[in-house]
């Protein structure tokens, strides 16, 4: 493989930040589901039992929130929604059917990636706030029971949206071949960039060759 053929997409610190967020999010999804539906209670075994799951979950949540906050600062500027993005969303069938020629030009991120970003920003903020309200034994006793009930409902709904969005994110990375190296090695092939993110490719190669 020659380096000429690759374009840098993520710096090492971007990757580290992404994977810290990813690991904590997976741990949170597993421990959260364990306490959500009895069908998943066995997942508490991964964390040392039910009580340990209850103790660890909120601390991991704080790590996620901090890690994601930095990630959001890094990528916020690339995720502004434009008219082209709204057009892209109207072509979602073309996206799923791999008819990329019918799509408006995609820059560094496509509209699906951008909306995922904003869904994550929103749900993680909601999860953090509602999670603090539910946090036993430290914070929950401060709040009236009516508020903890609302928080429990918001926490469950936001977690559902976040987990579903994350599954879509993981699937997209598996589905679009050549994407995963962006986050593991930091680079993608020129052909990948040209095909999936032509606007970004043009920007990156401006001036050079």
């Amino acid at each position: 493989m020659n380096d000429d053929n690759l374009i840098e997409r993520y710096k090492p610190e971007d990757r580290a930040n992404h994977w810290l967020t990813a690991i904590t999010l997976i741990l949170l999804a597993l421990s959260g589901l364990a306490l959500f539906h009895p069908a998943f209670f066995w997942l508490t075994n991964l964390f040392g039992g039910g009580t340990w799951t209850r103790i660890l979950h909120p601390f991991i949540g704080v790590v996620l929130a901090v890690s994601f906050w930095f990630l959001a600062q890094r990528f916020r500027a690339y995720n502004r929604i434009t008219d082209a993005d709204r057009e892209w969303m109207r072509h979602i069938r073309d996206v799923l059917a791999k008819r990329e020629q019918n799509l408006p030009e995609v820059g560094r991120y496509n509209a699906g990636q951008k909306y995922l970003f904003w869904v994550m920003v929103t749900t993680i903020a909601l999860l953090l706030v509602s999670g603090i309200v539910l946090w036993q034994p430290w914070f929950a006793p401060w709040f009236p029971v009516g508020l903890t009930r609302v928080a429990a409902l918001i926490h469950a709904l936001a977690a559902f949206v976040l987990i579903a969005a994350t599954l879509a994110h993981i699937y997209a990375a598996i589905w679009v071949k050549g994407s995963i190296s962006a986050m593991t090695r930091g680079s993608v092939s020129r052909a990948w960039a040209k095909q999936h993110h032509p606007g970004w490719y043009r920007e990156m190669t401006k001036g050079a060759k």
Binding site: N5, F41, T51, Q136, G146, T148, A152, L167, W175
Partner: protein
């Protein structure tokens, strides 16, 4: 706190039937507020039988002592001074504690399998060795009863002396009550007894006397005879129409299976998309070297 039982009708966070071949009679404790003198013998009996000693607190300027339920004080007399008719002071003393709902919100909300059970006699019991300390029972309870211990982060509340009742004894508080304000027996008998008491109270001028057995939680296995059943709130905030909060009902009712199923569908949708549409591969660009992989 009994560990082995054959008469469990409901068990928290459990989707299959619980051991329940033994059927027992529905029981109830009837608290006749018109007969209570506020002596707190029931509080003492509760401490003694359960072998719990709460910290000696401070006087808050009212008779309530301790001021609230705790992990060690499972019942507390709550004193209210009210004037329904001008110039006629009434001292209403309500023995507060778990109501043992037929439809228990604590059990519905609890995520830990077997931390809360309901026996066929109607008693709702916490099994603390299974409790994970999340506090969801508190969000589920319409009566503000469970308390998390600061010592062990487990939830505690009145057991209706399930250990005594299972061997044919009445609860400790009932055993000790000197005025007969507390009586215990089958739920049916207790309702009959309450009816007689209500007739008596009505004849004494309490026109709105009645039984507190709130249907919003399916009835309770601790019931009150109230002199003013039309205004349960005057008894230190006894809720008029208690029910499991719609938030909790939604969260631990419909959403629990629907959202879980939804996540499964999302994962399956991805899988089937992949095996039908196929991966989105990078088309080879004639002008470029093939990207190794």
């Amino acid at each position: 706190m009994a560990l082995q039982s054959l008469d469990i009708v409901r068990r928290s966070a459990t989707t299959t039937p619980s051991p329940g071949v033994r059927e027992t009679q529905k029981v109830a404790k009837l608290i006749d507020i018109s007969k209570c003198i506020g002596c707190k013998a029931c509080q003492v009996a509760c401490m003694e039988w359960n072998d719990l000693r709460d910290e000696v607190g401070t006087n808050h300027g009212i008779y309530d002592n301790p001021i609230d339920l705790t992990d060690k004080s499972w019942t507390v007399m709550r004193f209210s001074e009210v004037e329904i008719e001008k110039g006629k002071l009434e001292w209403l003393i309500r023995k507060d504690g778990c109501m043992h709902c037929a439809d228990p919100g604590c059990l519905k909300a609890c995520p830990a399998p077997g931390a809360i059970v309901q026996y066929s006699n109607g008693i709702v019991d916490f099994h603390e060795e299974n409790c994970i300390g999340c506090g969801y029972c508190i969000t589920g309870c319409p009566f503000n009863i469970p308390r998390i211990s600061k010592k062990d982060s487990k939830a505690y509340k009145c057991t209706l002396c399930s250990d005594r009742v299972s061997v044919g004894l009445e609860p400790a508080c009932v055993k000790t009550c000197p005025t007969g304000a507390l009586v215990f027996g089958s739920k049916e008998d207790m309702i009959h007894h309450a009816e007689e008491r209500i007739v008596d109270l009505k004849s004494r001028g309490f026109q709105n006397a009645g039984l507190y057995d709130p249907p919003g939680v399916g009835g309770t296995h601790v019931m009150y005879v109230l002199q003013h059943a039309d205004m349960p709130e005057i008894y230190n905030g006894l809720p008029k129409d208690p029910q499991i909060s719609p938030m909790v009902a939604l969260w631990k009712g419909a959403l629990k299976p629907i959202l879980s199923f939804g996540l499964g569908l999302v994962a399956l949708a991805g899988f089937f998309h992949y095996v039908t549409v196929g991966p989105n591969e990078t088309k080879e660009d004639a002008n470029e070297n093939r990207h190794g992989r």
